[in-house]
Amino acid sequence: MGRRAQPLRPAARAGYAALGLVALVTLGPLFAVALNAKGIGGLTAGDWAAIRFTLLQATLSAGLSVALAIPLARALARRDFALRGALLTLMGAPFILPVIVAVMGLLAIFGRAGVISDGAAFLGLPRLEIFGLEGVLLAHVFLNLPLAVRLLLGGWQRVPAERLRLAAALGFDARAMWLHFERPLLREIAPGAFAAIFLICTTSFAVALILGGGPRATTVELAIYQAFRFDFDLARAAALGLVQVVICLAAGLFVARLALPPVWGTGLDRALPAWPGLRPVSRVVDVLAIGLAAAFLLAPLAALIARGAADVLTLPAVVWEAALRSLVLAVISALLAVLLALLISVASLQRQAVGEAVSFLGIAVSPLVIGTGLFLILRPYVGPEALALPVTGLVNAIVSLPFVLRGLRPALAEAAASQGRLARALGLSAWATWRIALLPRLARPLGFGAGLAAALSAGDLGVIALFSLGDNATLPLQMYRLMGSYRTDDAAGAALVLIALSLGLFWLFDRAGRRR
């Protein structure tokens, strides 16, 4: 009888255990880092400049990404066209692209030797120069605009169809739509989207490594890497790691406090392929938004494919072995991430702030900081090389957790609110409640989350770079090594395999969720 009265209770208990695991894997290394740090007094003037630059670029990157996502998400929500599904999947590509590959693509379009610069030179205009803040912002918007769009679009899609019909019947114009739909929705979703992207940008490493650098454009993450790898100054790296954690944790807690309940409640689940009653002028706005965004996001991908296609078939065996290793690692990370996210979502139904804050540890304590901490912990006992792949899989799952939770937690809260009571009234067991009432309604965020986690893991070049020294490299690390040894043709081919792996995994998981 007890099981029937509280069908979510067993999962909630497991959720607290999952929270404990996340806390252990993030706070344990952090503790090790803190023990080795010798206070912020050891930070150099360059380190302080890196802190200021990190905050500036993260704020601008997040603001630009969310602002540009608003017209795009609105257009995708209210229009139905033949390639909408394909475009939505492709729109997800830049976020899940391995960062190093994405930056290569952006340089192919916007770089000094890129397509636009070639065009400008042909017209007698100066070539583009995107190194520094501009380049970092360009890359961060490219990488995070799709995430902002997906988060905002998720909000639009939760608006019950009945209310959109009511708006059409009442003749809502653009201002009324803003007042009664967009403003409440943005108040609910935009702070979370902004903070999530802010967090991602503060821990961005490869972008700053390639497009930033130097005293005026170094991020904290890059400064940690330099202190660790070039100076082997673990105390300074640890102090910078703590600064990074404070910045991100503050933003994470800020989001947890800002979180608002869903505005719209539940509807009758009647789907609308496109919004009714739209004025003709809105079509022009939407076509422009979709067209420009598609060009901005897809052109770098197209440039990469054009450059790497010829070399894929002649890649050395070591690249394919690395690809297989990345595939297995990505699937394990994805399954672990959705399991943890599902359990934590149940636990956070009761204690929302705790669930949010602990899950944000996964990103607040960056992979590089976790890697540094684990290096310090494990160095006396086990060779880091032996643990490279298991630790990478676990850390990748935890780093993906905030993104999986963003979509899953509100969906579970809504499903539990609308279906949970019905399930209890029907006397369904815990398993039946999940199988019949909850999981079918969570299929989309679960599929999306698993796809995201798998793709991020497949493209990760963080912990593995710190741990792996020998022949157990993942594909991104192998590609990095190829670039380092100036085998640029092989690197381009490997980049293409990496794109196919990341996008393929995302597409498969996301599609599985949609089909349910």
């Binding site: 019950p160 019947a169 009442l170 114009d173 201002r175 009324a176 009664h180 505005v263």
Partner: protein, 229 residues
Amino acid sequence: MIELDGIERRQGDFQLSVSLSLAAGRRLALIGPSGAGKSTLLGVLTGFVQPDAGRVMIGGADVTQAEVADRPVSILFQDGNLFPHLSVAQNVGLGQRPDLRLNAADWAAVEESLAQVGLAGFGPRRPADLSGGQAARVALARVLLQGKPVLVMDEPFAALDPGLRVEMAGLVEALCTDRAITLILVAHELRGLDGLVTDLCLLAEGRVAAFGAADTLRTDPPPALLPWL
């Protein structure tokens, strides 16, 4: 006068083929089994569904191509008639100006509308604080404020208990009579709607199976209509 002239609409295997006309001030109940085409027909009338062929005439004007909001039709949905983040008064005020830039006279009209549906003083409340019957009345107050000559209701009383159904039906009848509003409502059953409805239309498989004055049809019902009476 509402005239649906040769309306055709195909949706997959389903084909709607309807022609009917209703005099101004009449109150028609559209009944029929699930999948008979009631909601599709309502969609054609309100503008949410474009017919493949035929014309929708209201008050002598062809509104077939008109936008939803530009038709002389107010709509009450089965659910979701109120915005949860707005007060009762603001929800009613949407009927006057969707951007809610209302002056003192407008707010007075809102309060008057609320009074007409028996909800004087409810303006500051939120929809979450209302019962199902009160929420339906608020939506009705907004319809009154819109002042359109045709009211379309999609199973508006489905969620109400029998007592409230009768009460709401009485209120709608009084308001329609008072303002000469032509009413078309979709109903799953006719219980509690006796005084409200002046005409009946039975739809079956996308076609009109029976149509006429309610009194006449009740006195001498065709066989297809018997289960509904």
